[in-house]
Amino acid sequence: MSIISLIIKREFIAKVRNKSFVVMTFLSPLLFVAIAVFIGYLSTMKAETKRIAIHDETGLFAADFLKENKKSAEFKYLNLSEIDVKALKDSITKENFNGLIVIPKTNDAKDLESKIEFISNNSPSISFVENTQDIIASKITKLNLQSAKLDTLAIQKAQSKVNIHLVKASGEESLKGLNEVKIGIGGAFGYLIMMFIIIYGNMVMRSVIEEKTNRIIEIIISSVKPFQLMIGKIVGTSLAGILQFTIWAIIGLSLMFTASVFFDVNVGTTAKIPPVLMQSAQHDFSGIIQMGLREAWNLPIASILIGFVIYFIGGYFLYSSFYAAIGAAVDNQTDSQQFLLPILMPLILSVYIGFFTVVNDPHGTVAVVFSMIPLTSPIVMLMRIPFGVPWWQIAISVSLLFATFFLVVWFAAKIYRIGILMYGKKPTWKELYKWLKY
């Protein structure tokens, strides 16, 4: 067996056998599902019904509010217009009202726009205020139309509602409003790559520092070249990462498959979503899930997974060469902070670009440029892939990434070679530069 594969094997086994690896691999998907289920449960939980008293001196609006009682159970409106405002105000606390809407009597409907009050002990939620304003405003509009002798029915008929269908040039139809699925999946994968790079890069660094503080390094490099050791370490650790990801992908896909069977979505068909479903999706929770799953299956799953593996390998190799060089340069982990910051910056930057720029405009200049720059491309490009990226852009980005990787490995190997035999003091940036020239 060649020496590099020997090193790869040892590093791989050392990582995989580690308890934290096993725990993270099998526990974190469970944890993830548990959190998702918990959040889902929380959001379906019925909020406590809030009692709102209405004192409507005009007698025009109370009926509209009472209609709301049928639509949702969140608010219970009570028409208490006959009771005196002052008495109502005093009884808010006693009668356990969450609030009191006071609509004073006015001669001009125009005056109502600014004279309505909401009285409560605690400030209301913004959505409640907006909802209340909407109810009143639409009623006033209706009254205004009537007083202007306009035919409200004709106006209603004249109003139109447009629903644009989003169709890709390749022919698949995608759903408006369900771009969130792409953003979610792209974002999840981009975030995952960042976590992988940081976690596995740190593993490489720790393992370099361990060999250095153990002093076993001297024995090992009397048998192998430092470069072989570094590459073996990086590759061995990355294999552990790919194994972990594969396990996650299998778990994730089977969960998705199970969910699809459960919600009766035809896997593998790219059929149009029936309009009935579209409408039911507006209100029905399981309908939303069905549509989400449909959309997820329609995504280029294969290219996302392949893309993830390629960008993970490229990005991880690139960054872990930095990590290896830093590990070689310092004596313990606390000393590494100073050198780690410049490495983390581009990673954080690319996640921000991913979540703000790519989401807004996946094919805009900023997104395209940062999906080419090697230090940011693994994350930014991965977030773009679900939106469909021309193959030549991926080709350029991947080749740039791997070219940079070879360059960085070459530099890192030089620092590594000198660094692993230096004990005792933390090097400065200047010294690191000097090592490059030895």
Binding site: M1, I3, L6, R10, A14, E210, E211, T213, N214, R215, I216, I217, E218, I219, I220, I221, S222, S223, V224, K225, L421, K434
Partner: protein, 309 residues
Amino acid sequence: MSNLLEVHKVVKQYGDYVALNEVSLNVPKGSIYGLLGPNGAGKTSLIRIINQITLPDSGEIILDGEKLQPKHVQTIGYLPEERGLYSSMKVGEQCLYLAQMKGLSKAEAKKQLDYWFDRLGIQGWWNKKIQELSKGMAQKIQFVVCVLHKPKLLILDEPFSGFDPVNANIIKDEILALKEQGSTIIFSTHRMESVEELCENIALIHKSNKLIEGKVADVKRQFRTNSFEVGILTNNVEGLMYDITQKFTVSPASFKSLNDDLKLNIQIGNATPNELLNVLTQRGQVTHFVEKIPSINDIFIQTVTENKV
């Protein structure tokens, strides 16, 4: 006897600092060769160059008749001064890994490991982790690791540090046994008594330069002072002192003796021992007459202090 290792004018610089200044060494095949020198003399730099951990700036190294090249790492065993093993890896796996790195097949490595574990009585350690072992126990493992692949050249940097006297003796016997089997051993240490005991050849490196090299006996001959320790019983101390101070340099000496004799160190310069004896026998009864042979410790201290500049 031919040389297993020849170092020719090796220079190594770190920036402006010269770690080795045209150092040349000849290590005879099958010998135990003591590499001596104070801290920071350049020993470790030289050892690292021989192990191909670093490259010399100039000069060349010949191992077993061939220019030193990467394949030679498999014929060298190295026990560094700073010991270390993977603390969370099992002893057996770790030894197998390190042995395979030296080019042994897994089966061969296993065979050798069984032999050595048996020999040192540590069979039960196979599944232990290094962190469960004491320092001395880990040292034993480390020693096994560096001899597993039957190296032609064994480089031991302070091999006895960390061992109790019993285990130090076991390791010493193993070193001698390896020498009997034909290994050449470079032995770097500050413990001069073990150098006296084990080494046939020595070299002394000081301030990046080699100052002394040769067979131990030759080096000692070179450093002899022609001094004799003398014990004499005499009635006429003044007369004796008068006679010998005429020809020789005299200083008082102290050594153990059963007699109530006069104890002297006498430096005879270019005269022969017989001339001194003639003078002594005329004046009294000689009870003790030994040439003062410099110890390696003396030579070391003398050389290092003389070259303090």
